[in-house]
Amino acid sequence: MEKLAKRIIAIVIIAGLGVGGGLGAWFLFLAPGAGEYSWSSKDCPGAPSGISSDQIIKFGITGDVGEITGDGAWEGCYLAAKEINEAGGIKINDTTYYIGVTREDSDEANPNLVTSRGIAAAERLVYNKKVQFGIGGFRSEALLAYQEVFMDNEIIFINTGAATDVFCENVRSWYTRYKYFWRSMPINSSSLGEQIFNYLFRLIYVLNATYSGEIANVGIIYEDLTWTEDLVTGIEYYFGPYGPLPAYRNMLTANIPYDVTLTAADMLTHVNTLMAADCDIVIPIISAQGGLMLMQHYATLQPNFLVVGIDVQSQLDTFWTQTNGDCIYEIQMQSIHVTNKTPTTIPFWNAFRAEWGHDPLYTASGSYDALNFIVWAINETQSLQAYPTLTQKMETATKANILANPELFPSSVGGLGAYWPTTHDLVAGYPFGFTLFCQWQANATKVIMPSYNSVYIDSQLSNIGTLILPPWLITDWTT
Amino acid sequence: MLEIKKIYHYYGKAKALEEISLKIEEKALDAVIGPNGAGKSTLLRVISGLEEPDRGKIEFLGERIDKLKAHKITKKGISHCPERRRLFFDMSVADNLKMGAYPVKNKEVYKAMKNFVYELFPRLNERRKQRAGTLSGGEQQMLAIARALMSKPKLLLLDEPSLGLAPKIKKRIFDVIEKIKQEGTTTLLVEQDAVLAMDIAENIHLLEEGKIEMRGTKKELEKEPRIKQVYLGI
C-alpha cells in the first residue's frame, strides 16, 4: 500500500515536472508572440494611453544600467521622447506616431567587462524588442563588439559615449556596412586634443602676459590606455622641443602614463614628480579614479602648477561633495554646462533637472540630440526607412548646409549638430560641437572659463566666469 | 575510570579497530603493546577525540565522551601525549608548557604544575628559553610528556614515548613514567617495545590487527609462548 502511494507520488512529481517543463517551453518559445516584447504606451513617456504597437517608433538604448554613463544615455532619450510625445508625437503620412524608448543592460562600465553581455543586450533590443533605432554605447571595446548587431540588421545606431576615432573611420573605410553608424556626443579623440591645445595655448599666452613669462613648463599625466594615445601624441608634439611654437618656450618636462589601477600612494609619487619637474601647468587625461586622487593631493600639497585637462569624473555635478571640495581650482573640459551653447541648451538643462533632479552628463545631452536628430530626419522625409532615405537626409546636416540655413536643421544642445558626411562623426569646433573649459570654484560652483577668443566666442555664452588662480600660485608666479 | 565498550573504527573502508573493550582503573598504569599498524595509536586517538569512533561507547568517570571534540575531552582531564611528540617547534620550552596548561585557569595550580614538571625533568628547566625545535630527541620527548602533564590530567595517554630514542634515554623516560604513576596519575601507555612496557605496566593488553588478542598482568602474559617468541624475543 505504502509502495503504491509512493509510486503515485513519483508519477505525480514526474508528470508535474514534464508538464511544467513542457508548458514552460511552450510559453517561452512557441506560444504566439512568445519572447516578443509587446510595446505599449507605457514605453512612450508622455504619450496618450491606448496607442497600438504599430504607432510606436521604437528606440533601443544600450548602456550600463545603474552606472552614470548608461543612465545618462537613458535619461536623455527618455526626456527627448517625452517632449516629442507630449507635443503630440510625429505625423507620418497622416498617421500619428509616438516615440517609444526601451533599454537593455550591456554591463559595459563593469571593470570586469564580459563582452557577451553587451552582445546579448543588443540582440535583445534588435530581435526581441524589434527596435528601429539604437542609441548609446560608452566603453569602446564593448561597443566595437555589439555595434555589429545593429549593422547586421541595418539599424541606425548613434553612439553617445565612446570617443575613439576608429568607429567613424569604419564608416569611411567600409561605407556599405557601417553607414548606419553615427556619433552624436563625445568629440573624437583627435579633435579633443586639438581643442585642449588651442585652449592651453591661449591660456598660457594670457597668463604669461600677466606674470611675465613665468609659465614655461608643462606636464601630462594620463591613463595608459588606447583612448589617451592620440591625445598624448598631439600634446607631446605641440609642447615638445620640436613643436611648432618654440617662441613660447613651452617645455614638456614630465610625461607620466600610469596604469589605471593606481593607488593614492602612486598618485602622490606622481604629483611629487610633477612638482620636482617644475611644471607650471599639468594636463591630466583621466577617466577614472585618478582625477579624484590628483585633486586630493593637489589640495593638500598646494603645488605650483595649475591643473587643466580632461577629468571625466569631475564633469559630474556631485564631484564637489565627492572630493570634499578638494577639486577647487581644477580646470577641466566638458561637453555641456548650463550655458547658451545653442538656443536649446538652457531649456534642455532646466527640463532635465526638473525631470531627473540632477545635472545631465555628456551621454545625456548626446542621446537627447541623437533622438531629436533621428526624429527630425523622420519628420522631414516622412519615412522610417533607414537607408537610403533617413541616412541620406541625415547626411545633409553638414557644416556648410547648417551655416547656410540653420533653421532647416534640428537644434542640438551640445553645439550646432553638424556631421561629416563621410564619417558620420560630429563636426567639432565652434559653433559646432565644442567643448567648454570649466573651473571648480569656491562653494561648489562650476563656471565656464573664458577662452580668450580662440575656441569659442565668449561673449555669446552665459555663465562665463573669471579664472581664479590658487593664491599660492599667484605668490609663486609674482615673486 | 575509563571504560571503552565495543569500539569500532574505520579509515574509509579499512578497519582500524574492531570491538575493542577496555577498562582502566584509577591510579593504574596500563600498557597496550602490539606490532606496527595494529591500531594502537588509533585507539589513543579515538579516546582523546581526534577520531570519532564509528560504533561503541567510551565512558570517562561515568560520562560519555565518544562524541566530544578533542579540546573538550582534554578539559575533562584526559591528556594525550601524541606520537612523534608533535611539539610546537617554533615556540620556547616554557611556552610549550604554557600551552600544555591551557585548560588550567588557576595560577597557583599552574605554578605548582610547572615546578613539578621542572623537578621531573631538570633538563627542561635549563632550556626554558630555548626553541623546542632545537632540542635533542630525548629532550623533545621529555618536553612532550611534560606538556601533557601540565594540564594536571586525571588520565594520561602516552603514545610511543620511546620512539627513535637511544636505549639509555629510553630507560630514563620510562623511569619518569613510573614516577608519574607513583604520583597517582592514571596512565595508558602505548608502546612497541614490549620489554620496557611490561616492566612497568600493571595490566598489559596485546593489540593485533585491530583486535585485543590477549590481556593480563606481566606474569600471566610471560607464560604465553607467542608473547615470548614475538614480543620478548626469548
Binding site: V65, L144, A145 | -
Partner: protein, 351 residues
Amino acid sequence: MLNLKIVKEKMNEFPSYLKSWVKTFTGSLTIFCLLILFVMPFLSANQSFTHVFLRQFSLAMIFAIFAASWDLLTGISGQISFGHAIFFGISGYICAYLIKYQSFPIWISIIISTVVAVFFGLAIGFPLLRLKGPYLALGTLAMSLILLKLFLMGSLADWLFGSEGISALPGLAATPVIEYFILFIFMILTFVILIQISKSKFGTILKSIRDDEVGSDASGINTTKYKIYAFMLSSFFAGLAGGFYALYIGAVNPTGNFGTVLSFFAILMASLGGLATISGAALGAFFFIFLEYALIEIGVVEIGNLAIDFGLYKFAIFAVILIVIIRFAEHGILKPLLERLKDLWDLLLGR
C-alpha cells in the same frame, strides 16, 4: 605504440558498450537531454527565439567546453588553476589576428589558435607545475594578470592592439542555428573525449596524482610528465572555447578575453555542476547562463509598493545563489540532482 588491433577491437565493442550505456539511468538521461538540445532549434522560427535564446545556449556551450577543460585540470588532476583565461584569451587573439590581418579561413584560424594555446599550456605549465595547491593557483592567476595588463597597455598598442583589441570579425556561421549546431557537435565531442580520458588509464593516473602525488611518484609514475600532459590537454580545449568565443562575439579585447572574471566563470560553472565530474561543467554552464537570462527576462517585479529589479540586482542574486550552492552542496549540484531523479525514477518503476 598505437596498436591497431586493440583500437579495432574497441571499435567493435563500442556499439554494444553504447547500447548498455544508454540503458543505464545516466545514459538515458544524457540522451534525453541531448535530444532536447538537438530539437531545440526546430521548436520555433521566431527571431527572438533563434537570435536571442539560441545564442545564449550557444554561449553556454562555449563556456561548457571551457569549464570542462578547467575541470580536467583541477577536478581530475588536482592542479588548481585560477588563470584559465590565459588559454581562452590567447587563442581568441590569435584566431582574431589570423582572420582579420592574415585573411586566414575561419577553421584554419581556429585550429592554429588552439595549437598555439597548447604551446602556451606547455610554456606556462613547465615552470609553474613545480608549485602545488594554492600556490599554483596564484601562479596561474598572476600569469593571466600579466597578460591582461600587457595587452591593456596603451604604449604597447602597436603590437598588442591595445585596450580596444581586434573587432569586426566574421561570425562562426551564417545563422545562429548553424552556429548552434557547430557548437553542439564540438561540445559533444569535447565531453565524449574528456569523459573517456577521465575514465581511461591516463585519467586514473591523473586522479592518483591528485589524491597522492608523493605516492604516485613513488610507484614509478612520472608525475611531472602527466601533469604537463594534463595542462596541455586542458589548454587545448580552453583554446578551442576561446577561439569559438572570439567568433561568437565578433571581437576580442584584453578585459573581455583575458579578464580574471573569465577564469572565475570556468571555476564557478565547473564547481556549481560538481568537481571532477566533467559533465557537471555542462550543467553548471547551462545553469549559469540560463539563470542570468532568466533574471533579465523577469526584469522588474512589483510586490505592493516594492519594485524589485531582478535585472539590476542580477549579480548580487547570482552571488547569493553561488554562495548558497557551494555552502550546502559542496560537491556541486550534478550528483545530488541525479540521485534525486534516479530515486524518483526507481519509484515510478516500482523498484
